[in-house]
Amino acid sequence: MIDQFPVIIVLSPMFGALLVGLFGARNHSVCFPVAIGALTISLIGAVVTAKRVFTTGPVDYFLGGWDAGKIVEGVEIPLGFGIQLRVDHLNALLLVVIAIAVLLVSIFAIRRQSEQDTEKTHYFYALFLMLSTGLFGMTITADAFNLFVLVEVSSLTSYGLIAMGSSPRGTHAAFNYVIMGTVGASFYLLGVGYLYMKTGTLNMIAIHDILHMNNEVGNAIFDSRSITVAFILILIGMWIKMAFFPLHGWLPNAYSYCPSSTSCVLAPLMTKVSVYVMIRMMVTVFGLDWVFQHFDWSNVVVWLAVIAILAGSAFALAQNQLKKMLCYLIVAEVGYMVGGAWVADSGRWGLTGSLYHILADALMTLCLFLTAGILTRRAGVKNLTDLDGMFKKMPLTMTGFIVGALGMIGVPPTCGFFSKFYLIRGGIDSGHWEFVVALLISSLVNAVLFFRIFEIAFFGKKPAEGHGHHHDEDDTAADAIVPTEPGLRSLAPLWITAALIVALGLMNGSVVEFIRQTPGLILESPVKAN
């Protein structure tokens, strides 16, 4: 049983989606228990598998019984014959975090969705569960093409989730997202095609082995142009998917104009999983020595990341709407992770920090978007000025918000501080001072942003606040709803997330130690250098 868990993580939400599709239309009350059940099974599977990785090292699972090296009917099965799943130190914790996040959002979403558009509840749950399947599958797979299929599963469901029940602007954003998302996935597919052309296999580990193989021809593949182009194409594809700065255009509108339960699941997870895919490609497929010594675009990408961080922060500072501001913060955070992954310090602290930040940022973004969802729903908050005196009206919600905000700023007990610590350490070790400076500036901007919100929410807005005229127009909408604390179904996910933010921060030492055991991450590990 225990060795079946890697695939059960992926399958359980899929079966949930099928059940919802079959029975949800007749009886909407089926949807919620099915979703919770399916995602709980996934969470258990993820935790058990992570524990297995912790005790025994990477876990491989071969689909269809085509295990590499197994003899079937007298035929030895080569690696890459079937599809392989792999849970190692790189993705074990991410799986757990995804499972926690989707479970919490599904609890949170129950009332949001049913009140908005009752007839379509079951579509929402079916799409939501399929999105979870896609995210789990993207994280767990060790097959480059299978990753594309699962990218498409998660993309198509997220197009649907964003476009359903959105305002006209949301629909327009969804269309842009469809176009950009397809281009990103196509670039990735093309990159995989180039890899396949040169290596003849699709399995990530087999590609790595062939790429680093020394034969009598020398390393013709290692040096070839096609592999370089393949890497650039995969990189661009994933940058589009993760909304890295010059390619971020689709994200802010798509995430801020869609229903809150949708943004709660997409904002924390989609971009982070794309970052994970980029790192997976760097570490497992191409190998860090190829990426940093042969390809060696480290400086360029770090500068791009610096621009992304600064631009994201600047845009966030200019925003007047709460959700839009959070969306631009995501753009800045993506800059952190890409920059951290590319600083190329010899101790790999930047990459470690980046991986740790994926986990941390998923939780922090989830926390902030949950708060934003509750505030939009219960108090009609849209602009920052609508938060006026909110601490008195909804203290329980705002407590969760404070934790998320402190994490974003990087205040010690939260995980945000430690991820920044490791990222900065990587930046200093590698001499990328511009990255360090950008990180510090961004933290400062976050501090300004969130303390502005705290100020408004604690003491009420000052009359001299510049956005007053905007407020008058929207006042009618905001005043129609009297802010009241939401029920436990909304608060519990928020508080659990807040607790996890602190817990992940406190456990940072062991988490980082765990992540650093990833094969091929640290240079001392037996990766053949050229």
Binding site: L11, E119, V229
Partner: protein, 261 residues
């Protein structure tokens, strides 16, 4: 926007052209993708071609790779289709009954013409059963000839689309209703994943069709794989049929599932 497009196109194009000179020659059997990398042994595709007969007894190698070796991909491909169908329902479907007057001009016999109805109606009456029979043949015969679940499913879906186009959407929906096609789409993936999970019950891996030998009572695992592949293809065909028609029905009627094209 045009300038941006031009820059993007030129940049991407030159990046791709830059690598073209490095490509193996077109049609070369010894390129890494076809013949494997030197020193790395037999390539995956060579193994597929040489061993499929031994492993699965399926002549069509593409079907064997699609439904067995890379069956996990194909399952999620079917999930992609279901996801697209669900997404389109979620986006377009109008569930609140808005009592709109039916546009009579479209059904005006003086414009539409009775003779046209007879010609098109009779042709379709003759053609659609043949198309459906062909679709079933394509699904069932995917082991031995080109074809399989996707192709057969699309053709079967297209036959319903043809019915909707030739008469009107209501006629097609009357034969294949909304509940039926959503259900059928889910059942299709259930069949597919069910074959996979059955393997797990026998203590083997997911989608390990060889484990199903006791159920099919075949002599040897390869034949069991062959049979399971047929079952899997049928599942794929269900989903694809249902969703292709569902997408058409929604797009043609703006989600109302009536008064279509």
């Amino acid at each position: 926007m045009k300038w941006l497009a031009l820059i993007a196109v030129i940049a991407t194009g030159s990046l791709l052209i830059y690598a073209v000179s490095d490509f193996p020659d077109w049609g070369s059997a010894s390129s890494p993708a076809n013949g494997g990398v030197e020193g790395a042994g037999r390539s995956v595709s060579q193994t597929f071609i040489e061993e499929t007969d031994t492993l699965t007894h399926v002549p069509n190698i593409v079907t064997a790779v699609l439904a067995d070796y890379r069956g996990y991909d194909t399952m999620f491909e079917t999930v992609v289709i279901l996801a697209a169908g669900m997404a389109i329902f979620a986006i377009l479907r109008v569930l609140r009954d808005t009592e709109k007057p039916v546009d009579q001009s479209k059904h005006d016999p003086s414009i539409d013409g009775d003779h046209q109805r007879i010609i098109i109606g009779t042709t379709c009456r003759l053609l659609i059963p043949v198309i459906q029979l062909f679709a079933l043949y394509v699904v069932a015969h995917g082991h031995h000839s080109p074809g399989g679940g996707f192709q057969g499913g699309v053709i079967l879906g297209a036959s319903f689309i043809l019915l909707g186009l030739a008469t009107d959407l209501e006629t097609a929906i009357a034969r294949f209703s909304e509940k039926q096609f959503i259900g059928l789409a889910c059942v299709g993936i259930f069949i597919y994943a069910g074959f996979g999970v059955l393997g797990q019950f026998y203590g083997r891996g997911f989608l390990d069709y060889g484990a199903l030998q006791p159920i099919f009572m075949t002599d040897g695992e390869p034949m069991a794989r062959s049979h399971a592949m047929l079952g899997v293809e049928v599942g794929v065909a269900f989903t694809v049929t249902a969703i292709m028609f569902a997408i058409y029905a929604n797009l043609a009627s703006k989600g109302e599932l009536k008064n279509g094209l």
